[in-house]
């Protein structure tokens, strides 16, 4: 399964959820869902924005882990 490591990148960039949501153009609720891995799908345009704001690669935010 795909694991979302947005909180790791937020900590590295010392950015809050509110700041990320404002810069990416998502609601705080959606960013929370993203952080908790409760989203079903992410648009490439959203992923693009997240990587631009967090100055990272998609692989820094998304990680594949084998489900048990």
């Amino acid at each position: 399964m795909i694991v979302i490591n947005v909180d790791v990148m937020l900590a590295k960039r010392k950015m809050s959820v509110t700041e990320l949501s404002e810069k990416v153009g998502l609601t705080i609720a959606n960013v929370s869902l993203l952080k908790n891995g409760k989203i079903k799908a992410i648009k490439l345009s959203t992923l693009n924005k997240i990587c631009e704001v967090l100055e990272c690669q998609p692989g820094d935010v998304l990680e594949y882990k084998e489900s048990i």
Binding site: K40, A41, I42
Partner: protein, 163 residues
């Protein structure tokens, strides 16, 4: 058109249908059944005519009850319309439930009408056979609607979970 307006239209339609149903059950059924079983006569009806009258009337009242129950389910669906949450698996299941109730009711309706037709045929029964066919077609339409609402609900869930 806003969901609130659509919900008002839906609820208005349900209330209208309910009133029509009450008028049919309360006035038209007793009137037309008495015309076909007893007829216009100066003499007192026979016991057989009275039995036929009450059996038919009670039967049509009983088969009308599921129709009112379906209207209640439609009322719940109109609440979902108001909150713009029609594309939901619960709504799909409610529509499917309406279809099953209507279909079962139509089957009982046809069986009853067939028995009455064998007992003594009249034009009132012909009208009810036609109404039964319309009910059957409507039940079929609801099955199709339920399928597509379920599909839309799955798509909605996908969209809601997409950022």
């Amino acid at each position: 058109m806003k969901p609130v307006t659509l919900a008002k239209i839906a609820k208005g339609s349900i209330i209208t249908f309910s009133l029509i149903g009450i008028i049919i059950c309360g006035f038209w059924y007793p009137f037309s059944i008495s015309l076909t079983t007893i007829g216009i006569t100066d003499t007192a009806p026979t016991s057989q005519q009275i039995v036929r009258f009450w059996v038919q009337l009670i039967f049509y009242w009983v088969v009308s009850v599921p129709c009112f129950f379906v209207l209640i389910l439609f009322w719940k669906i109109s609440t979902a319309i108001r909150y713009d949450s029609v594309f939901d698996n619960r709504v799909s299941n409610q529509i499917k439930r309406c279809a099953i109730i209507l279909f079962s009711d139509v089957v009982v309706f046809f069986v009853g009408n067939s028995i009455f037709a064998i007992w003594k045929w009249n034009s009132f029964l012909l009208v009810h056979f036609i109404i039964g066919i319309i009910g059957l077609l409507f039940a079929g339409f609801l099955v199709i609607l339920s399928y597509y609402v379920k599909k839309a609900a799955n798509l909605q869930e996908m969209v809601d979970g997409t950022i």
